[in-house]
């Protein structure tokens, strides 16, 4: 591909007017004074990483490790992490005590499940950490070009980078460390970086080096470069940097403008040279990444409470048991009592003479025996489930964005179920609701509005008014040409050279020339005939493209000129015209305008300007105000239609005036005084006046695909949506209608400080009280409306200034009361500071807003349901099991004899009931994704926390107790007593235990099968597999010699399997166990349907 080398210029070079430099904060000078003191002690010897002083400072290398453990500390540290959980400590203590005679079962049988569970958790931790390690290795082994001190740049690995090294980073590469920008391939050293990884913003940001270093470009200049940087110590503030460069006996203040952060990417610049300042863990991004706060979900917090409830139940049950045991034991004291227990020569544990001591010791034994009430594998199962769930989220093809090739990404798996319980969505507008892809749609030139396409907002407004859309207009505008990116302007009066017949054709020509000339974009010819523009912002690109489409094609630029290919009106031919470029006065957020000074081929000096309407209008000359009224009206209309507007103006300069100004400007430019920026600003101001208004542009930032539908669904799901935007009130409201934030029949509540008032507030603070009262009054009115009890929905519109008052500690409660009752809150005119959002610390990221619908309504709903079901089921299965032990105790005079063989018990949580519940937590879907989206009100289940209310949890627990009662009493009465086999054998202790255990495993797994709504082969495999596993276990365990298998020896093969009574009993017991909960559910579904049930039937 023939690629034309981009000229190494950038317009900011032409006047090193760096208005991009942040207006120096008043405090910054103070900060610079503190260099060398505490917190500002870092010293970097540029280009001398080997010098003694540098080595003595012992700064870290660029090696990065994000792992939690090392090979050495893995075992102790991960064990420590594990045993920070109360439940795990309990099990550890039980395991230790199990070696003493207190234990009701053998020590290995309690150790093994603990080791399995702990081992599983550690394995999971280990795998996760290994992944991190691999990522680290990958990052550490990336290569970067480093100056070797002699004659060339050599590639070395990132991890070997040292402070003071000079590196060369090429286009589209990530910066290996925090660098000080020295120079780039542009003459003025400017470079562009993409900070998406840091803040999620997709637009490029420019960075400017100090002028004195911008010449250091090739090996020769690098070789001679020696300087010292003194700067702040490593810290986690990515947008601040305080430092001083000592270079050739001069001091230069450094600002964040010169710092290139690790984690960001070089864009649109061929290469840069930089000095490494912060390496490895000292970099800003790593400092930020330290210790991510571990977030705990509401479910988890409640789960902890349930664990405490279970602990109390455990203590209570043990207490009852030991009390009764004490009484029974005391009875043995007189006249031998139960002589077969030899109470006369007993140990302290069964001593009838000291029943209280025996009872106390028995209490401890009970705590161990009924420990099965506490689900040992709960935590590890939930963690495994969440990891698998987030894999599903990440892999969901429906959330894959073709354009950016990004799928949804769950950075942490901790919060999955919280996705199903979102009350409020806070959203930015630009780039979140919108695509951040600007399209030129309309313009107003010389008081005439052009562009007849309808914007999304206009369509929405028309719909709101109930107008039927005039389809005719749409068809009119459809032309047979392929759509141009960034350009959606349709007007027969302008397009296809028709503009030459318009009355104000001169203005139209000038207007588009301004658009074609007044910018900082760079053309790039990819294919012959196709020009692509690289611009700082998509707005700017849209202007250049618009000019090109109308017939003012910007083809070439170099340091001093811009070449346009445009129509010569007199001859009707396409000609190339070269404009001499004299100055660029760049755009900045304070200036809110940009202008260029050019000399056209007719040797006329022109100043071309575009900027915010208010800024341009106040700089118009008397004769330049010809179309002010019309243009203002059009701008008003455009902004109501949700468009971004700029005013366009120009001015003819005479040579003398320009020369005088230029001299002053150059003088200001070269001055070294502190107020240089201010001076430059002022000089620019002097020439940007007496402008002649040409018109205004309107650019549409299209809403992302599916945004209104998505918001509509989310609103139906009952989620409140807050949108923060910098737009004006009118624009904000109209956009609100366009994206369904505000809907038909919704009542608007306004909390607005009128514009003039805002201005007043900005200037002085005296009127605070008054403003406060206004806001308070509006909020109170709003509350009285909202609490009116009508069923209408409310939308609250509040502006940035009011928001400050509303968030005041006196008002915030009332404000939140109001805001929570409103389905939508739009905060307009908010300052960027109020909007600040960092993607780096996000927990989930998605490529498109519309995926939010799927993420919340589908995945959120599923995850919430899965996790809550899983937890409830866990408690159910353990309570069922634990209480059968207790009922058996009642029949063994509370002697703490377990009803089951030791190994049956220890396998319960890890072998026979663990996998199905994990499958439930990973795969279960109560409704298909389609249904979840179709019926958003399903989502309310999560918001109301229906599945994790105490009543719901307690009903599951009650069900567990009930199941255990049914299982124990039915089994015990069915098979004991009479002969249970044809050959007259009776059921003994081991047969009862085995039968009961079979019933528990079957009942609990069948209960699971009833809960599951969505069967995959995995669920079938796990559920029926667990049951068959139990029988296989019996066969294997039963064939081990009796000294090891004790009571399990051949029980199944010899006694149970041939007994019809055994099989009959387990069928009966399982049916009887499932019957109550099943009929309860059937009843509930039929007669008290929740949302879900109505959809299911």
């Amino acid at each position: 591909m023939a690629r034309v080398r981009k000229r190494n210029i950038h317009l900011s070079k032409l006047c090193s007017f760096s208005c991009c430099r942040r207006p120096s904060q008043p405090s910054s000078t103070n900060e610079h004074d503190r260099i060398g003191q505490k917190g500002y002690s870092r010293v970097v010897y540029c280009n001398e990483p080997d010098c003694e002083e540098q080595i003595r400072l012992k700064y870290r290398r660029n090696y990065v490790s994000t792992t939690k453990y090392t090979a050495a500390n893995f075992i102790p540290k991960s064990l420590f992490e594990q045993f920070r959980r109360v439940a795990n400590i309990y099990f550890l203590v039980v395991a230790c005590v199990s070696f003493s005679p207190l234990a009701p079962y053998s020590a290995p049988s309690v150790l093994v499940p603990l080791i399995v569970v702990i081992g599983a958790t550690m394995a999971k931790e280990g795998i996760e950490d290994y992944r991190r390690k691999q990522q680290d290795v990958e990052a550490n082994n990336q290569t970067v070009e480093v100056y070797d001190g002699n004659s060339s740049f050599n590639k070395i690995k990132w991890k070997n980078l040292r402070v003071g090294d000079i590196v060369k980073v090429h286009k589209d590469e990530y910066f290996p460390a925090d660098l000080l920008l020295l120079s780039s391939d542009y003459e003025d050293g400017v470079c562009y970086v993409e900070t998406m990884n840091l803040d999620g913003e997709t637009n490029l940001k420019s960075k400017h080096p100090l002028e004195v270093t911008s010449f250091i470009r090739d090996v020769e200049t690098v070789k001679g470069f020696r300087a010292v940087i003194k700067c702040e110590d490593p810290n986690e503030h990515p947008y601040s940097f305080v430092g001083t460069l000592y270079y050739e006996c001069q001091q230069y203040a450094l600002s964040p403008q010169q710092i290139l952060l690790r984690g960001t990417k070089l864009k649109d610049t061929d290469y840069i040279n930089g000095v490494v300042i912060f390496t490895g863990h000292d970099t800003k991004v790593m400092q930020n990444a330290m210790d991510p706060p571990s977030k705990r979900t509401r479910i988890e917090r409640r789960m902890d409470k349930i664990i405490y409830v279970l602990f109390s139940a455990l203590i209570l049950v043990s207490f009852i048991g030991s009390l009764l045991f004490g009484i029974e034991t005391k009875k043995d004291g007189g006249d031998y009592g139960r002589w077969y227990l030899r109470p006369d020569i007993t140990t302290v544990f069964f001593d009838p003479r000291r029943p209280s001591v025996a009872a106390f010791l028995h209490f401890l034994t009970g705590l161990m025996l009924y420990g099965y009430l506490i689900p040992i594998s709960l935590y590890v199962s939930i963690e495994i489930c969440k990891v698998l769930q987030s894999i599903f989220i990440n892999q969901d093809q429906a959330m894959y964005d073709e354009e950016t090739k990004r799928s949804a990404h769950a950075r942490t798996s901790n919060l999955n179920e919280e996705l199903g319980q979102v009350f409020t969505i806070l959203s930015d507008k630009t780039g979140t609701l919108t695509c951040n892809k600007m399209e030129f749609v309309k313009c107003s030139i010389a008081g005439t509005a052009y562009g007849c396409g309808m914007t999304e907002v206009e369509i929405a407004l028309a719909r709101k008014r109930g107008e039927t859309l005039d389809e005719q207009r749409d068809i009119d505008t459809v032309e047979s040409r392929e759509p141009v990116k960034g350009f959606n302007f349709r007007d027969g009066r302008i397009m296809n050279r028709k503009w030459v017949h318009e009355p104000y054709r001169d203005y139209i020509e000038k207007f588009f020339r301004v658009l074609a000339l007044c910018h900082t974009a760079v053309p790039e010819v990819l294919d012959p005939g196709k020009i692509f523009y690289e611009a700082e912002s998509p707005d700017e690109a849209a202007f250049v493209i618009a000019a090109r489409e109308v017939g003012f094609q910007f083809v070439k630029r170099n340091q001093t000129s811009i070449q346009l290919r445009e129509l010569d009106r007199s001859s009707g031919e396409i000609v190339d015209r070269v404009y001499e470029l004299l100055h660029v006065l760049e755009f900045s957020s304070t200036r809110r305008r940009m202008s260029v000074i050019v000399r056209n081929p007719e040797r006329q000096l022109l100043l071309l300007a575009k900027g915010a309407d208010s800024v341009i209008f106040e700089r118009l000359s008397e004769q330049g105000r010809m179309f002010e009224a019309e243009t203002k009206e059009h701008i008003e209309r455009y902004s109501e239609a949700g468009l971004r507007t700029l005013a366009v103006a120009y001015r003819e300069l005479d040579d003398d005036e320009y020369k005088r100004w230029e001299q002053e400007y150059v003088k200001a430019e070269t001055s070294v005084s502190a107020d240089r920026d201010y001076l430059l600003d002022e000089k620019a101001n002097r020439i940007e006046r007496d402008l002649i208004l040409l018109g205004a542009t309107a650019i549409e930032d299209k809403l992302q695909k599916g945004v209104p539908e998505c918001i509509d669904k989310l609103a139906q799901a009952g989620i409140n949506i807050w949108v923060l935007t910098g737009d004006k009130k009118g624009t904000a409201i109209n956009i609100g209608y366009a994206c369904s934030l505000l809907r038909h029949g919704m009542k608007e509540i306004l909390v607005i400080l009128e514009n003039p008032r805002i201005a007043a507030v900005e200037r002085d603070t005296e009127d605070f009280a008054e403003d406060y009262e206004i806001v308070e009054k509006q909020i109170d009115e709003g509350i009285s409306q909202v609490t009116g009890g009508s069923s209408t929905q409310f939308g609250l519109i509040i502006d940035g200034k009011s928001l400050i008052f509303a968030l005041d500690k006196n008002l915030i409660i009332r404000f939140m009361e109001l805001a929570m009752k409103c389905a939508t809150v739009i905060c307009c005119r908010t300052s960027p500071k109020q909007k600040a959002i960092a993607a780096m610390s996000s927990d989930f990221s998605i490529a498109q807003f519309r995926f939010l619908e799927r993420l919340l309504l589908v995945h959120g709903h599923w995850c919430y349901r899965r996790i809550t079901m899983m937890i409830c089921y866990f408690f159910y299965k353990n309570i069922t099991f634990g209480f059968t032990l207790f009922w058996f105790e009642a029949y063994s005079s509370f002697s703490a004899q377990p009803a089951y063989n030791d190994w049956y018990m220890s396998s319960y949580n890890v072998l026979f009931t663990s996998l199905p519940v994990i499958a439930l937590g990973v795969f279960d879907q109560d409704f298909s994704a389609r249904h979840c989206l179709e019926y958003p009100s399903l989502y309310k289940e999560g918001m109301d926390d229906v599945l994790f209310r105490w009543t719901h949890i307690l009903s599951w627990m009650f069900n567990g107790v009930l199941s255990s009662v049914i299982i124990f009493f039915l089994t015990a009465n069915s098979i004991t007593g009479q002969a249970f086999r044809k050959d007259g054998q009776v059921a003994d202790y081991s047969v009862l235990g085995l039968t009961m255990y079979t019933c528990v495993v079957l009942a609990v797994n069948c209960q699971m099968a009833l809960c599951i709504n969505y069967f995959t082969w995995i669920q079938h495999l796990f559920i029926w597999g667990s049951i068959t596993l139990w029988f296989k276990f019996l066969l294997v365990y039963g064939s081990i010699p009796p000294t090891l298998s004790t009571t399990a020896y051949k029980v199944f093969i010899e006694a149970c399997a041939p007994s019809i009574q055994y099989w009959l009993t387990i069928i009966l017991v399982v049916i009887a166990t499932l019957l109550p909960s099943f009929s309860y559910r059937a009843f509930q579904t039929r007669f008290r349907p929740m949302v879900r049930d109505s959809i299911q039937t």
Binding site: A715, R743, S893, A972, L1064
Partner: protein
Amino acid sequence: MGVIFIPVGLVTLRASHCVIIHSMVVEIVDRYDIDCVPEPSRMDKVSYIQDDSIPKNCSRFMKVHKYMKAPIYIYYQLDNYYQNHRRYVKSRSDKQLLDGQKYHDTSSCQPVESNNNRPIVPCGLIAWSLFNDTFKFIREGAELIVNRKNIAWKSDRGHKFGKNIYPFNFQNGTLIGGGKLNPEIPLSDQEDLIVWMRTSALPSFRKLYGRIEEDLDVDDVVVVNLMNNYNTYSFGGKKKLVLSTSSWLGGKNDFLGHACVFVGCSSLSLAIIFMLLHVKYRRPYGDMSYLPWNRKSFSG
């Protein structure tokens, strides 16, 4: 959903039918622990049973009310006897039962692990408290032959109790618990012991004593001559003698049958209730008009 109850109910009822019809098992139960104590001693049954000088023989009459087909199983039943007490269950040594005196670590048998510093085989509370009432059955003057072989589990005889292990130092202590063992017979053939050492699940239990391999006719009177040796008096236990036939399902099991009937009936009645309610409050399929999101209009 209610439809599911119908097959469940039918299946369970069918099962209960099987249980009740096919297990026409005849069972005779006779409690003898009080009646076998002579009237004068009934005030202090404990000292009666502990007094070795008093003969403990006793005769009971059991009337056969229904034809009993051989084999007729003889059980003794103990009530309120906690064979499942933790102290009791643990007090045995499976290794010693297999290896005899060669196995020395009998600490698990406490408190009956040794006597006069010599180990006891079999050790432990269970063996020590061996049941030792004996029964003889006479019909019309002729003694009924009681087969007392193969009353223990095959696996127990084969693998749990040693073939060459003989009782040693058993019941030689100051306090004699239950029955004694013939030291000439190896443990694997001591079937009474093996049966006894299969500890029961619940405090009320039956254990197999033997089999009568002759049919008993209606109105036959069986005279039982028994030795009432075993002390259940000190802890208020009961002793019963049970004669029972057996079916393919095992012994007489009214509970299982009734439970099946109950469960089956409840599922059927639930099914009926659900169907009635369904007919009464019929809701057309797919009518979602009352669902929350249709009650409130969200359309914008």
